[in-house]
Symmetry: C2
Subunit: 242 residues, 2 copies
């Protein structure tokens, strides 16, 4: 049974965490963002889904995954489901909860990264909150980023199965998400990252491992991988970098 992913066209955004899991598993999926009818048609499909007054479990926002009868939303919730479906998480309860816990910590981190360019919230353009974005970015880079990077480095070091992966001795979906956050941070804050990232050798090794996995490597050079841009989560505004 095919998976169907609903997400905005033109950006990686939160949909990308789902795409990386589907791509790593070699799963067959239909991506509404690449609807053959074009971007307008894709947006219409998303709006129809989000506004559907008949659906019994309405989503608040995309990404949404359809699989058979199931229509589920929230990135970490979709990954919890796909972790089991695609064998990208341990099968036992403690392992599943641990993968979910790490993914929720990635979620918190991603909100803080988004808020570096949108400290006044998602309703106003970046152009209308530039001074606030500058303040928040400086605080984020100085105080919050080392806390998150230090945490994930520590998770790798304290993993009793060795420091290659976050969860046990196999790749799981939080590894893919951590790779994506590192890619996004390097895009958004290239000067700052080049200065600090070497303090986290475990994370860098995991990032490089993910990048070289055959299916991920093929995906990254395919037309399916969109480029980062200034409409997404991770935005490069040089004035917010070091």
């Amino acid at each position: 049974m095919k998976f169907e992913l609903y997400y905005w066209p033109g950006i990686q955004g939160r949909g990308e965490f789902i795409r990386l899991a589907l791509e790593e598993a070699g799963a067959e999926y239909q991506d509404v963002a690449r609807d053959p009818g074009g971007e307008q048609q894709a947006v219409r499909k998303l709006q129809d889904l989000l506004g559907d007054s008949k659906i019994s479990k309405p989503p608040f926002a995309v990404p949404v995954l359809k699989h058979g009868e199931l229509v589920i939303a929230q990135t970490a919730n979709i990954l919890l489901y796909l972790g089991a479906q695609l064998k990208l998480a341990p099968a036992d309860e403690a392992g599943r909860l641990w993968a979910n816990q790490l993914q929720l910590t990635v979620t918190d981190w991603v909100v803080e990264i988004h808020d570096t360019h949108h400290p006044l919230g998602p309703t106003e353009y970046y152009q209308d909150q530039k001074p606030e974005a500058r303040k928040r970015s400086q605080l984020f880079l100085k105080q919050r980023l080392p806390k998150y990077l230090g945490y994930f480095e520590r998770v790798l070091l304290q993993n009793p199965s060795g420091k290659q992966f976050l969860v046990g001795d196999k790749l799981s979906y939080p590894d893919l998400s951590l790779f994506q956050v590192m890619e996004g941070l390097r895009y958004a804050f290239p000067r700052h990252l080049s200065r600090v990232e070497k303090k986290y050798p475990g994370i860098l090794a995991l990032h490089d491992h993910v990048q070289q996995r055959p299916r991920i490597a093929a995906y990254l050079v395919s037309g399916r991988r969109l480029a980062f841009n200034e409409d997404g989560l991770f935005r490069h505004y040089p004035e917010l970098d070091d």
Copy 2:
């Protein structure tokens, strides 16, 4: 087997979503915030847990729940576990994912509520970000709050089992969390809430139902329920209200 909850003393914060589930189920639990050794001892226990360099699954932050061998963090992850343990969520996969999806939407909402008083992030005091907090609060009350309230009202209306509960025809943990958010919003923005809340009769009926459930009613008047205050998630700063 007893549950052990680790959370900061003196505030409801994110720990309160866990407490409400434990209280509704009549579960036996030990609350480190009320350690007989006092608040200093409680904080020492939290810091020992958060800094433990031997633990195989280190938490990023509290709340943390210990149950037997299990040590889990992240509010929604703890509730996912407790939902099954305490029968506060459906047993089938689709129902569990739906409860988790709703809880993650509550999580997003709570971050936005927190950011009304901390738009520059958690590292600076409110006093050092008052003008930004005023801007963000106005945008939140005008544009984001109706989106969230409208969404949860719609979830109730579109529930095929009737509009009494968010998930199926029984109380589940997202109902308790929605109750808590409404309590918090009334505390933080009393003028605004008294003006708008009547537009959401389904949410108000659910709030009142939760408040009157025997165990919740008993909890709310017990010494275990802390008062809201200006160190928590939901803060009353009159200058941020209408």
